[in-house]
Symmetry: C2
Subunit: 223 residues, 2 copies
């Protein structure tokens, strides 16, 4: 007996569309990251700092995913990069079909790095491939060091972890080493960046990695 649940059918359809997105993006040698986190972990501020640092050397486009409002897209587009706002109208995660619609609005020949900011939600976006190269999970130290254990799926799916707001550690009971240890216990392959998007501390390692990976992608070296 074969059981196909509705959930599984939805995911299969999404995966097929994600593969199409991935083929399209790789065909244009674009490196794509899918930024995921809880609400308020600092995804948009991280994008702003990234744009400040490398938009002159790397051609970047941004897709902003939100439940409602275009507040984030307005912040990002102020940096003069192509920005597409996707609204889920109550939906708790982006899907490959929405991203496909957004890609149709971008001149892909002029993009080297695509940043997709997902809806703020540490649960649902884990299961939805958008066609990205890497899922990057952002976790603010203010959320507590136990979060990788409590929401393991997202950390399991991601290939990189940005530990954000490290400037606030002195005022918190959060143990940053325990946080990273917990994340690596879920996924030992996680590439870890510790930074503050507010003060800029640690941002250099992040942008250096992005720049180098974009370069590898353009030379068709597996990233």
């Amino acid at each position: 007996m074969k059981v196909i649940t509705i959930e599984r059918k939805v995911l299969e359809k999404n995966d097929a569309l994600a593969r199409k997105n991935r083929d399209l993006l790789l065909g244009h040698k674009i490196f794509t990251i899918n930024l995921v986190s809880s609400p308020g972990s600092g995804k948009t501020t991280l994008i702003e700092r990234t744009l400040e640092k490398i938009r002159d050397s790397v051609h970047i486009a941004v897709i902003e995913g939100d439940v409602q409002t275009d507040l984030d897209a307005r912040r990002v587009s102020a940096y003069g990069v192509p920005t597409i706002q996707l609204l889920t109208n109550g939906g708790c995660h982006l899907e490959a079909s929405l991203v496909s619609d957004a890609l149709a609005e971008i001149d892909l020949d002029d993009v080297e790095l695509l940043i997709i900011e997902n809806v703020g939600n540490l649960v649902c976006p884990a299961n939805y491939d958008l066609g990205e190269n890497e899922k990057v999970v952002v976790l603010s130290v203010t959320e507590g060091d136990d979060k990788p254990l409590k929401y393991p799926a997202m950390f399991h799916q991601a290939s990189a972890l940005v530990v954000n707001k490290i400037d606030l550690v002195p005022y918190l009971q959060c143990n940053m080493d325990a946080l990273v240890r917990n994340a690596l216990a879920i996924n030992p392959r996680l590439r870890v960046f510790r930074l503050s998007s507010t003060t800029g501390r640690g941002i250099e390692a992040w942008t250096s990695w992005l720049t180098a990976t974009v370069d590898r992608c353009r030379k068709e070296i597996p990233v």
Copy 2:
């Protein structure tokens, strides 16, 4: 033509079970709150401070909802109150059926206040009535003052807002007045508490309200 989507059928079934939970709880004159927030906003710490303050005067039981792990339930049960752990195993919100299972495990004759801590998720739990009297949304100032606008459904559904971690305001770019203004723009009826579960500042107004409301509930005065 009548269109019934699967989503709507799921919600209708949940609502029916929620009504049963509500009838059961009100029959026992129990005041029930459903605590919702992003991951790491401080729901569990708020419960711990609440227990410290009023567990001697109010009979409290706690239902802990988590995707995985019993970390929170262990923290709460250390305070010697009846604590039930609900695991959604990847699910992004609690449902009335899970809460119904938990209620069967609690001696309701000995409870005056039931605190349900939902899964950390600012999107999905908004639509799922559990049978509570009030949905209380917790928002940490570290998440930023724009969050009520970006995730309006939860603020619309809630009847109270706890602005948490106010001890961190001096180190943030968050404007707490703007945060409250944005929340009230979505829902002018929100009762607002500003507090720090870490330092205890502002916790008195919260526990006084809880105690008074539990008292009204026991006297069958509408809360």
